[in-house]
Symmetry: none
Subunit: 218 residues, 4 copies
């Protein structure tokens, strides 16, 4: 969802500076007044241009905001060290950090604003939510392939258990997602689906070092 559709070679080419200026302005306005009070006028003025230039690039306000968020999210890469506990914890943290860089409350508002626009909603989910889901899914699959998880675990549900915790708190967090929360959630889940949880824990301890002994314990 970064650069919008381009056309045949002919015609005056689009000013790519405007593209970035508009996305920058969008993020700035989002940060200052939030999604619901964001005005296209304001965005345009701040980018030194006018509304029609926005509509030429993105068909709706939602598309504009989505593009801005997607650019802000950037390309997020996750570790693959072979240590199931470490990788999951680290991977989730990377995504939490990426989402935390976004203006608060925007993601939820945008998602809500997609009600009734299925294509847009799909685009949003694919662009922003699917990458972390995929990454976590990939990690869990690796873990199962190397024998850390039971063969018959429902990986989709496991992904949802971790992902929904992260997403839910990001979207409407009554509490921020801390590193501690992530570790605890990962360890709790693995106790339920690992073939040999103590071995994983031991492995993580030599690899990283600061994992706690008692998941979900205060």
């Amino acid at each position: 969802m970064q650069a919008p559709q381009r056309h045949g070679g002919s015609g005056r080419p689009r000013d790519t500076h405007l593209d970035t200026a508009l996305l920058d302005a969008t993020l700035a306005v989002l940060g200052e007044v939030g999604y619901s009070r964001l005005t296209l006028e304001q965005v345009a003025r701040r980018a030194g241009t006018t509304k029609p230039s926005i509509y030429r690039r993105w068909p709706t306000r939602q598309h504009l905001v989505l593009a801005a968020l997607a650019r802000q999210l950037g390309d997020v890469t996750v570790p693959d060290t072979g240590c199931t506990l470490c990788d999951l914890g680290e991977g989730l943290s990377v995504f939490v950090a990426a989402f935390d860089r976004m203006p608060p409350d925007v993601l939820g508002s945008l998602l809500a604003d997609c009600a009734g626009r299925p294509e847009l909603r799909a685009e949003l989910l694919n662009t922003l939510f699917e990458p972390p889901r995929c990454a976590v899914g990939h990690m869990l699959r690796s873990a199962r392939d190397r024998g850390d998880l039971r063969d018959d675990v429902d990986l989709d549900l496991a992904v949802d258990l971790l992902g929904s915790l992260v997403h839910y708190r990001i979207l409407f967090g009554h509490a921020p997602v801390t590193e501690r929360d992530i570790e605890t959630a990962v360890e709790t889940l693995l106790q339920g689906i690992a073939t040999d949880y103590p071995a994983l824990l031991a492995h993580a301890r030599e690899a990283g070092g600061d994992s706690p002994t008692h998941p979900l314990h205060t």
Copy 2:
């Protein structure tokens, strides 16, 4: 979020039929065009009245919708049979069913629309989201008190693990929440925090009967 504030006893009394007519109209409009396209004019016209009569009762559109949803949610009671597995599963199902009766996508939109209005947001959370959280928390606390859970489990995180799965899927479900999902999630979680999971499973089997053997397994 039932009948709103009243004034001094004198003068023409409020038409209580209007209260219900307005909430009915709100739900109807929500169901037809969704939250973002809901117009107070439209609601008023449908209820056979005018905008000022709405504003006399609820200060903002958000309050109106919240009131309508709260009435739709109604009073939900959860079981307390002493069977940890059964109660959790049954309790979660009750709430999923209650939320499923609401117009789709409205809850998320409303919640998103509360960004920047903390009191309203708090009221929404208290009215709609807190009851299930409380009920689940209460169940887990009972379970711990009767010795089913370890003493040092972080109950808040446990509540969040279950609650976020349910809420997240309800709010923005890329997949509906099935009975099967609930059971599996409950059992997976309990494997992580129960003192003696097999005993709970056995207990549940004699009580109810249809619990599966292998959590999270296909």
Copy 3:
């Protein structure tokens, strides 16, 4: 074309100060930037209100301007002294003066802008152009009734001959309409349609005094 349509007794009544403020603002803007550069925003701002308040009163920009011009034209009354030459000259002068009080070039632009809107055009003609036509027609009919004109004169064409001179020069005058022009035109016309032109001239001389002897002569 003054006060727009009113409704049943109930509801908040229209602010009549706004009506006049808007018409005043319209005339002011017309005077400053002309018809084609008149902006409803500008009119509204100047009247201390906003566009929707204008659209509530007049359906289009044309209606607004027409209303403003009509108010500016006001009620114009013409003399009826029995002196055919004097009355015609005086009556035409009155209307020329009334039109000269309007912002220049507006009338033509407005009329041109009515192309393709027959009802509006009819309203404009009725409101602004018909009164002088009627007045002149009435004068000529009186003159015929008292025997000053031949019985079989085509009064409509006579009205047009006088009216078109005035209107044409007002609308797109390459030259202003002077008192002298009016007198000369009246006298020239009457030579063509009067029963006894010299008698009329004599009558006018005793009544008024400053009529010229030789029509259309330099």
Copy 4:
């Protein structure tokens, strides 16, 4: 207002087919939607080209339309037979016919649109309105020279009396200009300014034949 300005000899020459195609398209669009709804885009598209090709030829929309109308008006020649009544009637008819071939209402709109652009307005008047004025003026001057009119007649006002009737009705005609109207107006005017009207009438009768006996009479 024929072919617009050209530049130095070098470079690709202008496609003269485009000139005519654009003027044709302009007239077509004017005929279909009128002046105020004419879009340069539309004209360009219809001519199979694009806006810049228009602006390369004519600096403004007004110039384009003026050029189109001028081409449509063409060269109009008027008779000079020595019969004052016949020539005037015939000459006016020729011009009425020429203007009637133009799309209706366009002339007035264009003229109105020249408010505040004096050079353009002058060009328009010179191009479209001056020829008939000149022709009528020339006829009247010839008539005076041959002794048909009094020596001291104000020829400018006489021209205006005839011209304004024609122009006014053409521009904003509440009634079409008929042959009958023209004859009657000419005859009425001549009664006012001719040295010997009956002689002119007699002359016209032998020359043409179908002149009426009673000017301005029904």
